[in-house]
Symmetry: none
Subunit: 143 residues, 4 copies
């Protein structure tokens, strides 16, 4: 298993933002974390809110934390709100159970890291992440 490299992470960030401009998204923040949940690359577009870096990282970190993409976490949070309220504290505020947190898997299904995007509607955030992960020939698992 080959860990996610800075070169791959940087390409994912840039491809996400190119896709965001094509989709005319609001200003986005894109974070790429490695399998250990640690930041590898991040860009915040001009005008993207000051909490967006934390939210983008929390979308990605939450996906890694639970092993499922943000879309699956959002469904679980709706079904088990008290558990997810506890999880935000358990994780020290590092989980955002909402679409836009997407696991990065290799061809064998190994988790290499995660992408988190925040700034527009969660569905659009997620679409940019999925597009970018696939552009570097890895598998996107949004949940």
């Amino acid at each position: 298993m080959q860990p996610l490299s800075l070169i791959q992470a940087s390409k994912i960030v840039d491809a996400s933002l190119e896709r965001a401009r094509e989709l005319k998204c609001q200003p986005l923040t894109v974070a790429v974390l490695d399998a250990g949940g640690h930041l590898v690359a991040l860009k915040r577009e001009d005008g993207s809110g000051i909490l967006r870096p934390q939210i983008a990282q929390a979308k990605a970190w939450g996906a890694l934390g639970m092993g499922h993409g943000g879309r699956a976490l959002a469904e679980r949070a709706a079904a088990a709100p008290a558990f997810f309220a506890a999880l935000t504290d358990i994780s020290g505020g590092r989980i955002a159970p909402v679409p836009g947190g997407v696991l990065v898997r290799d061809g064998s299904g190994n988790i290499l890291g995660a992408v988190g995007i925040s700034g527009d509607h969660p569905d659009k955030d997620e679409a940019c992440a999925v597009f970018a992960i696939q552009s570097v020939e890895l598998m996107a698992d949004g949940g």
Copy 2:
């Protein structure tokens, strides 16, 4: 883009409190933050509760963090409670999704900072902030 000055922030605080006395509001706390979410000026009226400085700042900070006024954040929080519960932790307790957090924009729409007011009904808190921002010829965006 001209950053919010202490002179402008002080006028906003004082105009908010003058308006509050005209509207016979409960004792208020008024905080003005710059675009980076850092406190520029604050006044807490006699009798305003000891948590009010934190709440007023959280109303303003939350608006800056997400790029939308507190009224819009309150609507979103009602629609996505688990995500907003997570946001309070992600932000380290710096978000209060409720009317009374109002973005300060210049004539071109740039965000210069935010006003947060706490102490009376959120609608009245917000009305004082909007009045005060407009009194210094800036644009109020309550969400």
Copy 3:
């Protein structure tokens, strides 16, 4: 015992900043807390660093927390560094043992609150606070 009013606190803030301009201080942040350690009024001058509001409040809070001005706390911290390292954690990061935190006392010696100033050399910070407290005919106790 008459609690510190917003009118008094505001005058202290403004007198501190007037004095700072006479002394050609670096851009300052001035915080006034009541006897319970809660913020009553604060102003941050243009160009004063983004951590200055927290430092100014910590100078004032620390003085209230220990019942001694920042100058006395600095001497004690030099003599008992491990204890003061513990105090920063015990207080949740609300203590800054350095000159510029000045207790506000009435004519009978009762503590009404504290002023914290940050931005220039601690001696100059303290001088502005002492001047301002005396200008409203209260007693300044810098430690």
Copy 4:
């Protein structure tokens, strides 16, 4: 005053890492924050430790918080250890008083943001930041 753009911040990150390879530095992490202390761009090289993103941000944030580069903060910390121990708590762990946190100023001296680099000796971290800031024709203030 023109805020630091993502384009500028990205160029600073990339120029820092190019310089680091020329100087044969250990694997680095480079963070660029805006004037409000919020992350704009970050890259962590393969093999750079998992705490490096926090350290790099703390070098930059501390410089912004105090209005002085990390080299000046390191000197002050040596002279006033108790105060700087307090500052780490006051800031919530967002200050690293060590070379490698460098303020970004425009031609008029306005602070536009800060660069923080971590991974090699602080002097080499700082050299990469200074080189990169100058490469985009802004002023580097390491303290």
